[in-house]
Amino acid sequence: MTARGMWHRETVAELLLASLLPVALVWLGLAGGAGLLRLAVFLVVAGIWHVIWMLARAQPPSLAGTVTALALAVLAPGDLGLLALILSTSFGVVVAELAFGGWGRNVLNPATVALAFMGFGFPAAPWPELPVQIGWAALPALAIGLGTGIMAPGLVLGALLALGAGWAAGLPVAAVFPAAAGVLALLVADPVASASTRLGRWLNGLLYGGLVSLFLALWTGAAAVQLAVYAALFVSLAAPLCDEIAITLWLLQRKRRHG
């Protein structure tokens, strides 16, 4: 890596991990030893793949694998077999992250892809019920992310704004608040897989909140985490579109101003 100064890829990964610590600690406190074991499984699987790709392709491993493991430990369906967990995690980490050249070059968040794989691959496995403390812990996590500058204010505010609009329209947003806020902090606010222009980030956040509200209104029988994870998947697929819209608008504006 030829990055100069203190801001390089691993700095961002460390700060991302630091900002997610409130969620991690609260979740570990609630889940106890079983949670620690679960986290360890995801850490080992993700870590092994990072090391394999380092040896095979000389791709430096990233601390961001820890963030993926944490998101999976909190959000993955409960009673999947060990084989299914390993398969889904490997799919997310390898296909969504490492095959693209490692963290920072990936298009989608590996944890989002792994969770979608679990959701489509094992539809019978029940999604976890997030306790309300996770939702409240996500707020300081988002605040630290915003304060250190690794999460985008537009994205977070846009998402909260759209969720608030859904709540004002009478949707049961409060019931899915822990899942929506937890997924926002763990998956959607990921600085790599989200939009990277100012307007694009607002659109990205609004789209996430809007999709969660839409799913709440129309998708009967969906678990809270399921709804939020699928919204995160669609939003990260649409992130380049948000950027494209922002850039097109900027070009139009520039053309109008300068001819």
Binding site: G81, A84, V95, F117, F120, G121, F122, P123, L251
Partner: protein, 217 residues
């Protein structure tokens, strides 16, 4: 080229699906079970061999300006014959294959071989080349179909191999395997594996599309 090479080369080295990425629409659609994949593979191979034979026989009488129309008419006629045979003798499978047998007509692989090889070669080599390409296509189709059926339903050709949890066994079927994206993933993994094993299959830089500047409108 030596005649046996015409038959063996398209199996791995110049496989139409994994190297030329031809005919993948049908390989995605019909590979949910081994039975449909195998039927489709046989149908396509038969159509490909017969159409190569016919087009090779008339190659000196084929006016250049209408050759594509003539080729399509010949392929389409053969496809209709195959479709009728399937409906007559394998009705249940033909129902599951639905339009995909008819769509062999538009399979890029068939027209690619008749236009690219049979049109300019004698019948013997043309049929060998067609058979090789048909077998190469079949190889991928059957492999993908077997993996999808085995891990999606725990069966092979409808026979239980891995007893699923529903039937009192231990295997949790991977429902994703029955959805179309899994065929994309599996095909991608096959192409990845083959191109890692045979680096000469990787595209040379000069065949990559030229980079075009974005339109600034």
């Amino acid at each position: 080229m030596a005649l046996p090479r015409l038959l063996t080369l398209p199996l791995i080295g110049r496989n139409p699906v994994t190297v030329q990425i031809l005919g993948i629409c049908s390989s995605l659609a019909v590979t949910t079970s081994l039975e449909t994949a195998a039927t489709m593979a046989v149908s396509l191979t038969v159509v490909l061999v017969l159409s190569s034979l016919i087009i090779s026989l008339i190659r000196r009488h084929l006016p250049n300006s209408i050759r594509l129309i003539v080729q399509i008419v010949i392929v389409a006629s053969l496809v209709i014959v195959i479709d009728q045979i399937l409906q007559a003798y394998l009705f249940a499978i033909s129902q599951r294959l639905s339009v995909f047998v008819g769509l062999i007509t538009t399979n890029c692989l068939v027209l690619g071989r008749t236009e690219g090889f049979a049109r300019s070669n004698p019948p013997g080599p043309a049929m060998l080349d067609a058979l090789g390409n048909g077998l190469g296509y079949s190889l991928i189709l059957v492999a993908v179909g077997a993996v999808r059926e085995l891990f999606g339903q725990g069966t092979l050709m409808g026979l239980t191999v891995l007893p699923t949890v529903d039937q009192g066994g231990w295997f949790t079927p991977l429902s994703l395997m029955l959805l179309a994206p899994s065929a994309f993933f599996l095909l991608g993994f096959v192409v990845w594996g083959l191109r890692s094993l045979y680096p000469e299959q990787q595209e040379a830089p000069e065949t990559e599309p030229p980079s075009v500047a974005e339109a600034r409108t």
